[in-house]
Symmetry: none
Subunit: 291 residues, 2 copies
DNA sequence: TTTGATTAGAAACTATTATTTCAGAAACCA
DNA sequence: TGGTTTCTGAAATAATAGTTTCTAATCAAA
């Protein structure tokens, strides 16, 4: 009689407990105790813990239908994974009318996974610290991006402009960067956007700024821009998607959350800025009122 | 400098990520991927999974303050145990260390909900139709954005440039827009980015272009830019988040998916473009090779 | 381009883990 | 009680995991 392959270790033990010998039962009980983590160590550890010899462990593993102890352990790991990993939304389609294989759905899957992973790695304390740093109006803020990332830098700059003054968008053309560095003061902050492929010039800019005492905040990807090495704070986003290019969705998410956080911290001042801005826009009749 | 003993593996990786080398980062990411189960197998397995040699694994373990790989793994097991034995465990939280009320978590909730709602409403057929339209190299493509959305227009333009030629980014300054309209031909496509607050000038531009026989594609929000009324195709993204401003995350998502779709449709031509681009970039030594 | 420093993996090596063998102990049975 | 079977772990062995060493490759600086 062969033990079916898709049963958990616990189920196999339970269903065949009668057939186990004294030493094996001792072992089985030790495994069920604090299951399944107790079985994740080496064969020696679990044998010692249940006061049996290692051959007993091997014998029982085989009795339960495994090829050996490592085989049993692999099953345990799979179970742990199933328990821990969050199955929500794994198999519900995003765009309901499109097949799973449609680019929209595949893209959505990756982006969601990127979000999850990125957020798991972010240190909220660091996030708060940067928000505080950026809401310090006495410090000048300089923003720079690379070939691809200048759109992000631009987006960040446009919004931060509404929240605070003393803000500079460093021009995209790296030839003129040294001029910008000259204008950076010791307590200023340089916000760098750099995802692969990392640009040498950005690294140099970071080094120059650092040597002037400027605080560096880097938004980069999971592999980390070289500029992040010099940074006081850095945020690493997952950016891989089923495409020839990388995704800026998660970085943008972090940026927006950061803007919101800074906004919260400097609400009093912002309120005035916002009002002035509204009036200004109304006067120029450039925008329509909505709602 | 010694790494404190009571930190999780994830925390150690996060805090010392900058000090890790290329291969080590690759490994670190593989461990964070499906953490912590991914690190529960043998050193060989995790090394293979992250495309790194086993010595690299040992080196990183030591760098993180462990005595060796088994030591690191023991810590992982302890973490699994802690996670499992605490079933409430915050799996609904995005940023695990932050409270539910932290801006990161509230923001993540909204953005996810925005994604779901937006995707539910998108017609895949329309998406495909636009992808086809944009991959028709005989049509000129013009891209325009407003005060806030010009970053999106810019992002779209930068990527589309790599996919195809015959592409124009309409300057942000609306004074010069009439000139651009003059250059639009009857079969051209005008891609408009406009989310609230909608800009009058964009509506005018849309009308002018339309009257010349130009096909309009509008990326807007759930309420719909006035320009969308004239559009052949429009995409409505949800943009509300707990912030004083709107979120461009979902629009960006759609844009990226669209770029990927266009890329797929015009792969043959793109391949050449990509190669030329790579060479160009390598020549100018502006970018670092990665991997 | 050369030089020196850093990095990474192949290979050799060591340590540990897993399996098998086997002999003694325990249980069972007539 | 003696014979038989079953069980168990010590020890030997095999397999695999983990570590170290060392050289080639890579990269930055001169």
């Amino acid at each position: 009689m062969e033990t079916p392959q898709d049963l958990t270790v616990a189920e196999r033990i339970r269903s065949r407990f009668d057939e186990l010998t004294r030493a094996e039962r001792q072992l089985a009980n030790a495994i069920m105790d604090n299951y399944p983590v107790s079985g994740l160590g080496s064969i020696t550890v679990i044998a010692d813990a249940s006061d049996v010899s290692t051959p007993t462990v091997v014998r029982m593993a085989k009795k339960l239908g495994f090829r050996g102890f490592p085989d049993l352990q692999a099953e345990l790991r799979a179970e742990v994974e199933a328990t821990i990993s969050n199955p929500i939304s794994k198999h519900n389609r995003w765009a309901g009318n499109a097949p799973d294989t449609h680019i929209l759905n595949r893209f959505a899957d990756s982006v969601m996974e990127n979000m999850r992973q990125t957020l798991r790695q972010i240190d909220p304390e660091e996030f708060n610290a940067v928000a505080k740093l950026l809401s310090d109006h006495s410090r000048g803020i300089h923003v720079v991006g690379g070939r691809i990332t200048h759109s992000l830098a631009d987006y960040f700059f446009t919004h931060m402009q509404m929240v605070r003054d003393n803000l500079t968008l460093v021009a995209a053309n790296s030839n003129v960067w040294p001029h910008y560095v000259l204008n950076m003061k010791a307590d200023d902050v340089l916000v760098i956007f750099d995802i692969r492929r990392y640009e040498r010039d950005i690294q140099h800019l970071a080094e120059m700024a650092k040597s002037q005492g400027v605080t560096l905040v880097v938004f980069t990807d999971q592999w980390g821009s070289p500029a992040a090495k010099h940074a006081t704070h850095s945020f690493h986003s997952r950016i891989e998607v089923p495409s020839a290019w990388d995704s800026a969705v998660v970085p943008l998410f972090i940026i927006e959350a950061m803007i919101a956080a800074v906004q919260d911290l400097s609400w009093v001042e912002t309120e005035d800025r916002m009002k002035s801005l509204e009036e200004l826009l109304d006067q120029t009749r450039m925008f329509r009122k909505f709602k």
